[in-house]
Symmetry: C2
DNA sequence: GTCTATAAATAGATAGAC
DNA sequence: GTCTATCTATTTATAGAC
């Protein structure tokens, strides 16, 4: 029964996966613990064996989603391609990919320090990754600008209820980034 | 008793004012109708004489806040100054001013079409205003890019739990805008 | 660790008196 | 139009059996 040792972490990961998916598209308040657990194939009661509170789950889910998002790009394509993919209409839909930085910006603004700390850490990683990816040496300012055009651009594009305008906006962001 | 005719609209406006203030800093779900009404000096029960639902209130509050925000800049200072004020740490605090476009981006993404339509309309107005304000003729692309740097920049800055980084980010956005 | 049952609190919306 | 009272539903979190 060697897999007993792995069981808890494995389930925890399923819950995180479920949570990330739900939070990302509906925010913190519109997702109940019940939904998260059902989506993970469990019931409510089991939740508190893995997390202290819903808020803790939120922070962990953001961290987890960011890690996986980075891991998914391990075989790093050219920067320009990664940026194009980030600023795509497909990403805007949030089905196959979803960046927590963009999808949860103003949601996170209203959360406690722990959650905002995780968000901040993830954002710093995002900017660092941008800096390292660019062939030319770029300033911190340039990197921050590009990060805002990506994260902020996607966030605004998602709020707009006008697909044409959203597409124009995403294109404008893409062209304004010169890495 | 001539003021009877004015009474209802006046109260409605108080409710809108109260709602805008609360929604802007805490989002849709973290604000109850009870709070909005108490903050406006009334009780819950009176709410439905003015609005059909909480969602309708949200849409109206965003529209209202945007209109007032524009009205407040009627005596338009130079564009560069308005941009600097928008991308200031003071705005980030959300006390004396608060742009719904930035403060509620991802909150709005999760709302119904009516709310998102209002957001979209307000955003279009924001971009148009930017275009008209710039002395040189600028392309739609350039205007969209600037709008993202302002709205998206403020949204991200608010999520970050690091004042120093937030300030750097706001500065980077400001310098990346050339109107 | 996971389940069912339940506590305890909160919120959106409606009804009816004034 | 505004008030109090209430219905109804939902949700976080806990307790205790297995």
């Amino acid at each position: 029964m060697g897999w007993n040792k792995e069981h808890k972490p494995q389930v925890r990961d399923q819950i995180l996966e479920s949570a990330a998916q739900l939070f990302m598209n509906r925010g913190f308040d519109n997702v109940s613990i019940d939904e998260v657990m059902q989506n993970a194939g469990l019931t409510r009661g089991a939740f508190y064996a893995h997390f202290k509170s819903k808020s803790e789950l939120y922070a962990e889910a953001i961290r987890d989603a960011a890690l996986k998002s980075i891991h998914a790009q391990e075989d790093a394509p050219p920067v320009s391609e990664r940026i194009a993919k980030y600023l795509s209409l497909e990403h805007r839909k949030g089905e196959s990919m979803a960046c927590p930085l963009a999808f949860l910006v103003s949601d996170v603004s209203q959360q406690n320090n722990t959650v905002r700390d995780v968000y901040t850490k993830v954002f710093k990683g995002f900017v660092k990754k941008l800096t390292e990816s660019s062939k030319e040496h770029i300033s911190d300012q340039e990197a921050l600008k590009s990060a805002v055009l990506m994260v902020g651009g996607m966030a605004v594009a998602r709020a707009l209820n006008d697909d044409t305008l959203a597409e124009q906006l995403l294109t404008a962001c893409q062209q304004a980034i010169d890495l």
